[in-house]
């Protein structure tokens, strides 16, 4: 039996992680599989990937994919700042970050906002289930009005739509998907990896244990019935494609990414232009009004410099500088001291 290799001659097994300890059937495990597939199909070197996460069920998942990559499971909600520091010192590596709705919409919303504002070059994978799983089922800030816990009260507080927030902040890649929509999610994930800048993928990932009443907008039953695909995205790497790409019927559009690869969008909602923030917001608001989820690439702006580019760093990653590049000469100190002494 021949083992299938990717463009850098690695088998898919090289991208896998340890066994999951999440609840059987958890949507997060499907997302982990998509991360494995996307990194493999994109031909990323696992050694050049850094996995980042905060705290929560979602944030445990970096143990379940890419075991050849270094990673950091940080503190609750504050993963973006750690990623910022790591990215400044390793500007050429790929940062794949996993977060949950507790992390991103509550305790860490400030750090998410500022990472978007700086256009940090990272993929921010938001595994969104509207519930705090590890603490056994409290509502999160993305829980829909009218959601009902298995026991107890109905949520009456308005949810935060992180995709709408991101579009308003000028996030350069905003997408929404569903953990069960493997094909669409894989395409979005691969495109996000190729994007140089901040990519937010808000993935509806139902909690099988605490948030799976059919009334919840993030339950399997609800999403399967109400999911409306805005785009199907197919990703064509600039190197030889791994698999034959299905060219979908209907109108389509190619968007060039920073690494020269193309993302091709098939427009289901024909009038949607992913470069148009107002259209993206309208699509989200319309879907919300009709109690639907709009998925696909909602907004894309490839023109902005990333946080590391803004810094105008030397070509060598800062973590690999030699001592002579880090410590100015003795002569320079003598000169400074002479200045202080008024000489």
């Amino acid at each position: 039996m021949t083992i299938k290799l990717n463009v850098i001659n690695l088998p898919k097994d090289d991208y896998k992680g340890g066994p999951s300890s999440l609840c059987p059937g958890c949507g997060h495990d499907q997302i982990s599989n998509v991360i494995v597939t996307s990194a493999w199909e994109n031909g990323l070197d696992p050694k050049r990937i850094v996995k980042m996460s905060g705290i929560g069920c979602s944030s445990k998942t970096p143990a379940y994919f890419l075991s050849q990559s270094h990673g950091f499971n940080t503190v609750h909600g504050r993963m973006p700042s750690v990623t910022t520091g790591a990215a400044m010192n390793n500007k050429d590596m790929t940062f794949l970050a996993v977060s949950g709705d507790g992390d991103s919409a509550s305790i860490g919303i400030g750090q998410l906002i500022h990472a978007i504002r700086r256009n940090l070059d990272m993929v921010y994978i938001l595994e969104n289930n509207g519930v705090y799983g590890l603490t056994k089922g409290q509502y999160s800030a993305t829980a829909d009005i009218g959601s009902k816990k298995k026991k107890g009260t109905t949520n009456e507080t308005q949810p935060i739509d992180l995709c709408a927030l991101a579009v308003n902040l000028g996030c350069t890649f905003v997408a929404r998907s569903f953990s069960g929509a493997k094909k669409q999610l894989t395409s979005l994930m691969k495109a996000a990896i190729s994007h140089k800048g901040f990519s937010l993928i808000d993935i509806i990932s139902p909690c099988v244990t605490f948030n799976n009443n059919d009334e919840s907008m993030r339950s399997y039953g609800y999403v399967k019935e109400h999911d409306v695909e805005l785009h199907a995205v197919d990703y064509i790497p600039s190197f030889s494609p791994m698999e034959e790409v299905e060219i979908p019927a209907g109108a389509y559009r190619d968007i060039e990414l920073h690494d020269g690869s193309m993302v091709r969008l098939e427009t289901i909602s024909e009038e949607h232009d992913p470069f148009n923030a107002v259209a993206a917001l309208a699509a989200m608001h319309n879907a919300e009004r009709e109690k639907k989820h709009v998925t696909g690439l909602l907004y894309f702006d490839p023109g902005k410099p990333s946080a590391a580019e803004d810094q105008n760093l030397v070509d060598t990653p800062l973590s690999q500088l030699k001592e002579e590049q880090m410590r100015p000469s003795k002569e320079s100190l003598d000169e400074i001291l002479a200045g202080f002494r008024g000489l």
Partner: protein
């Protein structure tokens, strides 16, 4: 009455935002350039414009740096504090006041010198009169104190460097003030004079924050992440100012990223990310920032990530007195964050050490794979101190135990990220991108390979190793500096900015016939030398600028039990730069209480 030479304290009362800082710095620089030992303390409010500010200049041939016990010359410019400032003057004080404030000075027991400062300034430039009035008092003082003409003009040029118009206006004001004083206060000008001394070659004045900033650049900082907070902001701004000259290549590309973070949590998160990646990250903050950073600080301890955090201490708790000084954060730093932790704390006591400890902190952090604190305070950080110069780093960078190749890993038997193969508690790490021995860092419990674990024996062994790792640094972190008397009866342990008044305290105590030894602690955890100092002396006082005796508490915990009865706390804090007489009196109180003396200070 004989003249009093190079031994006085001058207090200038102004309102914030009136431009008095320039005038005060010209005075300070002039006296310093005349070779006289001088210190300047800026007592500024947490405000941009309008609230009261005092600047205290002390000239002292004895080498004293703290503000004196009393004010000898008082300059009155501020309506808001007028009455209180006059009331605080002891008999015999020389009071110079701005008559244009139109408030009375009724002190027959003082030498009262009225000067129409605003009116004179208006004659030079009506719109800038408020600012120029400050230079008028500099001119008056130049006459009263006999300040050297060349020195004062050179200081003025330095202060307004390159701004020709400002130099001209202010030179005119200076001459005007001086002439006015010569004409009106010819005979009655008080006894205080500045007399030139031999200039100490190579010395200059600098703020501790700038010394720390330069030290960080020479220490190889690769990421500065910070959030503005008084009194630490000028550390970060100093780095930002010096980077183009020192760390940019010919194309303007930099070897140090600078990020103004959204808050202190983020700032420390960024430097933890930097340390994880293999760079050298630093932030500077004050007490409130440390409080906010605390969760992350524990992560750096437990996951063993190197980074450097400078705390320029201001008066707490809470917002406290944000523009006043204190040594009130020490115990918080030493055991920051929840659970059992312990951090190396570097405590500079002068400008030379601010520079040295700042570059060295990165080496220590990478050697110990932990977060290292630098501990300064507002007095050290934001006031100008005499400095003899900075010594260029005398050792190559210590990047710690980092494995770069598979061969290096293979040479270690049974390598694991948290396996202590050398017995010093420090394990070998690999960096992202190296492609070897990948690890998922975590703040959770883990085994020696870094894999999640809740097993009791594994948790316990890991925590014991962490303690051992930090404990081992006691002998090689910056060691205490001792000045021992042969009698070995009474010892004083102190630290940080108190270095600047210890000589004066010593002289005050000696005036009662008491000989005291001194030990300046320069780092935590406690050195065995400090323990020996306590053992060698019958009674040891722990002197510090806080309420509760925080270093005293640390000593009580770390000293052998039989030495604990020998140490006594002498802690005091009112937000002001420490004055020697207050502490000397308190030391005497403690010594009398424990029966070590019967003397009373006059």
């Amino acid at each position: 009455m004989d003249n009093i030479i190079n031994d006085f304290t001058l207090n200038i009362a102004t309102a914030n935002g009136t431009g008095s800082q320039s005038a005060n710095l010209i005075l300070l620089q002039t006296i310093s350039d005349m070779g006289v030992n001088v210190s300047g303390k800026n007592l500024f409010p947490s405000n941009i414009s309008g609230l009261p500010t005092w600047y205290i200049i002390r000239a002292s041939d004895a080498g004293y740096q703290a503000p004196g016990n009393r004010t000898h010359i008082q300059v009155l410019m501020n309506k808001a504090t007028w009455e209180a400032d006059i009331e605080a003057c002891e008999p015999g004080t020389v009071i110079i006041y701005n008559t244009d404030v139109k408030l009375p000075v009724e002190r027959d027991d003082c030498l009262v010198l009225p000067v129409p400062m605003t009116k004179m300034a208006r004659g030079i430039h009506p719109k800038l009169a408020r600012m120029i009035a400050n230079i008028i008092y500099v001119g008056v003082l130049a006459h009263l104190l006999n300040l050297d003409d060349d020195a004062i003009l050179s200081a003025l040029n330095k202060q307004f460097k390159g701004k020709q118009k400002a130099i001209e206006l202010n030179s005119t004001a200076l001459a005007l003030g001086r002439d006015f004083a010569a004409e009106n206060f010819g005979e009655e000008r008080g006894p205080y004079r500045v007399e030139a001394r031999e200039i100490e070659e190579g010395s200059f004045m600098i703020e501790g924050n700038e010394a720390i900033a330069l030290g960080a650049i020479y220490g190889g900082i690769t990421t500065l992440a910070w959030y503005p907070i008084t009194p630490s902001s000028s550390v970060a701004e100093g780095i930002i100012d010096w980077l183009p000259k020192l760390r940019h290549d010919e194309d303007g590309k930099t070897t140090c990223a600078v990020i103004q973070a959204e808050d202190e949590l983020s700032a420390v998160g960024m430097i933890i990310g930097t340390g994880f990646a293999g760079g050298r990250g630093m932030t500077a903050t004050s007490g409130p920032g440390i409080s906010l950073m605390s969760e992350f600080i524990g992560l750096a301890y437990f996951a063993e990530i190197p980074c450097v955090v400078w705390d320029v201490n201001r008066t707490g708790p809470s917002t406290g007195l944000p523009t006043r000084t204190q040594q009130g954060d020490l115990s918080m730093l030493y055991e920051a964050s929840h659970g059992d932790t312990q951090f190396p704390v570097l405590i500079p006591g002068n400008m030379e050490e601010c520079f040295e400890f700042s570059w060295r902190a990165f080496d220590i952090a990478e050697r110990l794979q932990t977060l290292v604190f630098g501990f300064s305070d507002l007095d050290l950080g934001m006031n100008k101190w005499k400095c003899s110069g900075f010594t260029y780093p005398d050792t190559p960078m210590d990047r710690g135990k980092v494995l770069h190749t598979q061969k290096e890993i293979d040479a270690i038997e049974n390598h694991g990220r948290y396996r202590d193969v050398d017995g010093d508690g420090i394990c070998y790490r690999t960096l992202p991108g190296s492609g070897i021995d990948p690890i998922l860092y975590r703040g959770t419990g883990k085994d020696e390979d870094g894999t999640y674990s809740e097993k009791p024996e594994i948790y316990h062994a890991n925590m014991e190793r962490l303690k051992r790792k930090i404990d081992n640094s006691r002998t090689w972190l910056p060691q205490p500096i001792l000045r021992e008397e042969v009698e070995l009866e009474i010892g004083i342990i102190y630290y940080g900015s108190m270095e600047n008044m210890i000589q004066e305290i010593d002289d005050i105590l000696e005036s009662t016939g008491m000989k005291v030894s001194q030990c300046r602690i320069r780092s935590l955890p406690l050195s065995p030398i400090a323990e020996k100092f306590v053992r060698d002396h019958e009674t040891t006082i722990i002197l510090e600028v806080n309420r509760d005796g925080q270093m005293y508490g640390i000593l009580r915990k770390e000293l052998p039990i039989e030495l604990v009865p020998r140490v006594h706390s002498c802690a005091f804090s009112d937000g002001m730069p420490p004055r020697a007489i207050i502490y000397a009196k308190k030391i005497m109180d403690v010594l009398r209480k424990v029966g070590a003396t019967t003397e009373v200070l006059a």
